[in-house]
Symmetry: C2
Subunit: 212 residues, 2 copies
Amino acid sequence: MAKSKQELIDIAVGSSEKREQILQGAMQVFLSQGYANTSMDRVAAAARVSKQTIYSHFQDKEGLFTAIIERVTIHRIQRELGSTELRGDPPILLRQLAEAFLNKLANPEYLSLFRVVIAESVRFPELAQLYTRTVIQKGRGLLSDYFQSHPELNIADPEATAHIFLGSLVSFVIAQEVLYGKQIMPIEQERLIDALILLILGGYGVHTSRSG
Amino acid sequence: MAKSKQELIDIAVGSSEKREQILQGAMQVFLSQGYANTSMDRVAAAARVSKQTIYSHFQDKEGLFTAIIERVTIHRIQRELGSTELRGDPPILLRQLAEAFLNKLANPEYLSLFRVVIAESVRFPELAQLYTRTVIQKGRGLLSDYFQSHPELNIADPEATAHIFLGSLVSFVIAQEVLYGKQIMPIEQERLIDALILLILGGYGVHTSRSG
DNA sequence: GTCTATAAGCCGATAGAC
DNA sequence: GTCTATCGGCTTATAGAC
């Protein structure tokens, strides 16, 4: 029987309904269980496909894992990051940005991806670098450009300052959510954001004579 | 035969030469390979002991892993952290502290511990919390106390500021070393430290009229 | 293409000799 | 206490029926 146009496209780009089904199921298991602790049997069960079907779409376990992490990193995260617009009054924008960033990071799916990428950074260094390029480098670049386009903020090193801003938030989420500090350390996110904005903007909006 | 005094002490505290040998070998394998990817056979080979000897000293794989992480976290790291004295002129002290902290963190053994704790934070949440208490909370407390004892620095929230200082450095190491950003992102550590100290101390030592 | 069944090997944990 | 040898189960990956 002749193939439909969609089927031909699917084959050309390597996609298909089954392949998508496998990716969805495997993503769920890999992200929650990690690489070594995920069996192909479990992936097959989660995707509601037989094991052989998986092996007909992906070379092996490593290939499947790589495909999933690339997919999640590039498509899902990159998309949300790209839609962020950095405009507006600095104190308001930075606060909104910090809150949005923290809420995104605290999402279980982001936490899982972060955990897995860190955990498998030795076995899959190319995935770690992909994460660095698409998530970290991109985010830092956006914020750095914003700082650079606002010379009135008097920021000596926009790139380093962007790292400090985002890095503080990342490590906050690691300590609070990934390492369960939430249950033993009563630091609230608003205090961190307040202190961070005060540091970066200094007296901006309150005093304008910071540099002298 | 009667037991020597040392042997009685060993039994009382659960230590022995063989036990120590096992811990050393297991530490090496667990920290470099992760939990799931470490087999008891490999631990036995690394410790140059038979498997049964391991099982006579530890209940199971989880027990051995827990013992190792607790040991490394509490003894090694805590010891070095405890010996840190925070005294001196703020600009100099903060720079020295940042450099010492970054050098420590970049040490392969610290990176491995961090990686493993993050990777197994779901399976072993109590180890993650131990790490939080002994490493993160302790370090933050020390720096926070220092800020608090120097009111001339004009730091509104010492605890949050301590988090920002240490968190920026931690996430820098994660991006550079754990996620191999070093090879693709040319940000140097001195730039980060400069920016960080400038933010926190503001015009301290250059201008003293920061607050208006 | 997708299934069931199974190969081939490694895993954690234990039994038994000494 | 420590060794060698081994068990049952689970792993990745493949063969063969349909």
